[in-house]
Subunit: 127 residues, 2 copies
Amino acid sequence: MAVADDELSRVFAALADPTRRDMVARLAVGDATVGELADPYDVSIQAVSKHIKVLAQAGLVTQTKVAQRRPCHLEAEVFDLMTKWIERYRQQAQARYERLDAVLAEMQAADHGTEHPNPQPQQGAAS
Amino acid sequence: MAVADDELSRVFAALADPTRRDMVARLAVGDATVGELADPYDVSIQAVSKHIKVLAQAGLVTQTKVAQRRPCHLEAEVFDLMTKWIERYRQQAQARYERLDAVLAEMQAADHGTEHPNPQPQQGAAS
DNA sequence: GCTCTGATCAACCATCAGGTTGACAACTCC
DNA sequence: GGAGTTGTCAACCTGATGGTTGATCAGAGC
């Protein structure tokens, strides 16, 4: 069913889990090994390893190899991908609200003159 | 298993699905009924209804009641929740990189004087 | 009143996600 | 070389998710 096919989906999905968000918060402070990351949680280290894999596949985390350790490093650039997506639609919505406000104001002004009884609530007509 | 218990989790999870992100994009342009939202996709209207429910539970969308229609409206404020979370850790990571750069520079400068052979790669020590 | 439309609810099915345990690989240290 | 440490892989279980179809509800319009 091609779920989470693109990077954005993987990033959002990765951060949808509170444990993984928590790990990101931990990694923002500094790099950490799998064991260090697993420590605060009472789940198996295998589960944590899986979480890291998810974060890595989302591009949020990279792992290096130091002896038998696998220090994890936060790749903050991927955040930009999300921020851009969010900002795009936030601004679009914002602009629409402003346009709607203008239309409403205009309608109100017009109503004072013409008094037409059935004002169309123009939905989806703002393309 | 308490998956997606807090709002942030619900928002991220909601946007992890490409179809739902698409719907958000559509709603940023203007309000739309369930049928209008369902039109571009070849899934049943019930499936779309479910998607909208997920978006609504995440607080991304509100539905009003106009006759038998249920126009959907994008609530852009919830985006701020995500943006705040992201920015927090992005900046934290950023600051850490800068600090790390400073440390590295310092170490390099020190190496020129002392020439110690095994420089510790201080990880997780930046709390 | 009856029918058509728009949308949701309920039951069901297949897949995915997060967890577990057990095995094993890679590396260090004695 | 053998034991201990660190982490991953594989198989498995369970609950959530996304999809379907059928039934139903709420209004509009004849």
